[in-house]
């Protein structure tokens, strides 16, 4: 489903060239659940951004379903994300002035879904993550765990085949983090492909496989406890 072919990314920072990714090659099959670990600055987030079509490589190719995504213009990549990709952020990135229901409606609005269907599906998704009684709460009125669950519901809005998560449990207590990883397992069981950047070894081990990055290179790959689920 997803392939990175000899991808490099370098940029200048205070006059010095920083090699964020160095010859990364990886293939991620449909239904896979991959965790990406490594020390800070090892290139984890760069790799995730590239898979999501948000950061172009200095060299190499990134293919989604066989299509080279950086050969598309930026609006073309936006359409690709809207259709195929669901993002989850460490700090949730909910729109503060919209209610939980409205936040979940946003991706559907972007995809051109009519308002009635938006509301019905958003309410069902919030119900699924256990927030059926918090539809009209704004993010500031919810706990961090609840906010991340709203973000999960928003991520599911357009039924994405690929989920990209950047430290989804980084801001959560162990119990809530466990709950969120449980949701990811459910989404994987539904056949969705997941790539999750994490610092949390307990979260990483629940993926099917783990990629370890160091200085922009993939240095190790280990298998986790989950079996590959193919839809």
């Amino acid at each position: 489903m997803l392939r990175m072919e000899d991808v490099c990314k370098s940029y200048r920072h205070r006059g010095q060239v920083v090699q964020a990714l160095d010859g990364a090659t990886v293939a991620i099959a449909r239904g896979d659940f991959v965790s990406v670990v490594g020390p800070s600055g090892s290139g984890k987030s760069t790799l995730l951004l590239m898979l999501g079509g948000m950061l172009s490589p200095s060299s190499g190719r990134v293919l989604l379903e066989g299509e080279s995504i950086y050969d598309l213009p930026s609006d073309g990549r936006a359409r690709l994300r809207k259709k195929n990709v669901g993002f989850v952020f460490q700090t949730f990135n909910l729109v503060p002035y919209l209610t939980a229901l409205e936040n979940v409606q946003v991706p559907m609005y972007l995809a051109g879904v009519d308002e009635k269907s938006q509301r019905e599906r958003a309410a069902a998704l919030l119900q699924r993550v256990g927030l059926g009684d918090r539809l009209d709460h704004k993010p500031a009125e919810l706990s961090v765990g609840q906010q991340q669950r709203v973000a999960l519901a928003r991520m599911l809005a357009n039924d994405p085949a690929l989920i990209l998560a950047d430290e989804p449990t980084g801001n959560l207590d162990p119990e809530t983090a466990d709950q969120i990883i449980g949701f990811f397992e459910q989404f994987n069981d539904e056949g969705r492909t997941i790539v999750m950047v994490t610092h949390d070894p307990r979260a990483a081990v629940r993926a099917r496989r783990t990629l370890r990055l160091s200085d922009g290179r993939i240095v190790d790959e280990t298998r986790g406890g989950r079996a590959l689920h193919v839809a």
């Binding site: 936006a78 993002f87 952020f89 002035y97 946003v106 972007l110």
Partner: protein
């Protein structure tokens, strides 16, 4: 969820910033609308005042000076009466009230007076229509303010004010107040002048000018009796002040190169000064609004984009295209502009109507056309000022979303 919801909710998320920006637009538009409204009615009132003062443009034979005309009252030089037709048939605006005059000396009761031949308006209007000028499509009058007064009934005595009367029979005359007093003549009397009998249809009220010692008769009768042919000594024009300022004198000069066209410059200059000052004031205020208001809005929008870069990045990560981000900011600018324009028009109109009579001494009425103007200017300023910030938002790097801000 739709675009309007997204924009509307955000507007009220940062209330104090939005209110500051809105107030800047509102007060700016209010000021300009109030000034424009008062200026409009003040100009009209001044124009009306000026128009009621009488003739302010004179067409004279080349060799005659204005000094000659006023001091000697009479002179022998003449210009063809045909000039009246040329003026009437021309496309020059502001020459609605023409009064050709021919003076001949007459003796009444042993004293010398001037018999002035004048042409009633109805005659040259009819001639013009017959000659192909159509039905006087040109607007008549100077657009003076209509304060709802009843139109005055046609009266021969309006000659004093308007310099023109509508109808006058060939053997009817109007008598100046001095002539009437000295000779004991009253309305309805008969008088013999240059061997022909005339009936006195009106005694004119006292004006304090040479008109008081004049007798007014029909131009063509005076021409026949004097044996001078179809000529006049002068053509008085009650030119509208606005048109005089806009170059009426030059227009008449070009049309009648063999005549001398003079204007009561001082009077016109005063009007021009007042109008010009008001106009300049309104332009200065408009420039201030455009520059200060525009800069304020641009600044507000730039900081809004900066504060919302994470939210914009999130929307882009969720699949928002750059065009949508642009629309989010431009719609916000448009809403602020529309609200500022409508509010500014209402507030400005209330101020103008309430304060106009006190400040400018003229009645001021609401001007609906200013609503379109206010909304147009306001929305225009906010949209133009928001263009660059909105473009910056649309080109924002969505990677910012992943970085701690």
């Amino acid at each position: 969820m739709k675009l309007q919801t997204l924009v509307w909710r955000e507007l009220f998320e940062r209330k104090s910033q939005m209110l500051t920006c809105f107030l800047a637009i509102l007060l700016g538009i209010t000021t300009v609308v109030a000034i424009k409204n008062v200026t409009h009615y003040s100009e009209k009132a001044v124009a009306r005042e000026m128009d009621s003062l009488g003739a302010n443009v004179l067409v004279l034979p080349k060799s005659v000076t204005l000094q000659d005309y006023y001091s000697a009252d009479m002179h022998d030089e003449v210009i063809p009466e045909e000039y009246v037709m040329r003026l009437t048939l021309s496309d020059i605006e502001g020459v609605d009230n023409l009064s050709p005059k021919l003076h001949v000396p007459v003796e009444v009761g042993g004293r010398g007076f001037a018999l002035t031949g004048i042409l009633p308006k109805s005659e040259f209007q009819a001639k013009a229509a017959w000659a192909g000028a159509g039905i006087f499509a040109r607007p008549i009058g100077c657009g003076a303010i209509d304060v709802g007064a009843e139109p005055e009934p046609e009266d021969k005595k309006t000659l004093v004010r308007n310099r023109v009367i509508k109808d006058l029979g060939s053997h009817e005359i109007l008598i100046g107040s001095d002539v009437a007093a000295l000779q004991g003549i009253a309305e309805g009397d008969s008088l013999t002048l240059l061997g022909e009998p005339f009936s006195v249809v009106a005694v004119l009220p006292e004006t304090g000018t040479v008109d008081d010692s004049r007798i007014f008769g029909h131009l063509h009768t005076v021409q026949r009796l004097s044996g001078k042919g179809e000529v006049v000594n002068c053509i008085e024009i009650v030119g509208c002040c606005k048109e005089i300022a806009a170059g009426l004198v030059d227009g008449v000069n070009k049309l009648l190169p063999d005549a001398k066209v003079v204007t009561v410059k001082q009077v016109v200059a005063t009007q021009q000064n007042v109008n010009g000052m008001m106009e300049r004031l309104s332009v200065i205020f408009l420039a201030i609004i455009v520059v200060v208001g525009g800069a304020g809005i641009a600044n507000y929008m730039y900081s809004n984009v900066f504060e919302r870069r994470r939210e914009i990045g999130t929307l882009m990560a969720l699949g928002a295209e750059s065009g949508l981000v642009l629309r989010i900011f431009l719609l916000k600018a448009l809403l602020l502009g529309l609200a500022g324009g409508i509010g500014g028009y209402l507030l400005g109109t209330v101020l103008a109507v309430a304060l106009g009579p006190r400040l400018a001494g003229v009645p001021v009425l609401p001007m609906p056309v200013l609503a379109l103007w206010a909304v147009g200017i306001s929305a225009g300023i906010t949209l133009v000022a928001s263009c660059f910030p909105a473009r910056r938002a649309a080109r924002l790097d969505p990677v910012a979303t992943f970085q701690e801000i």
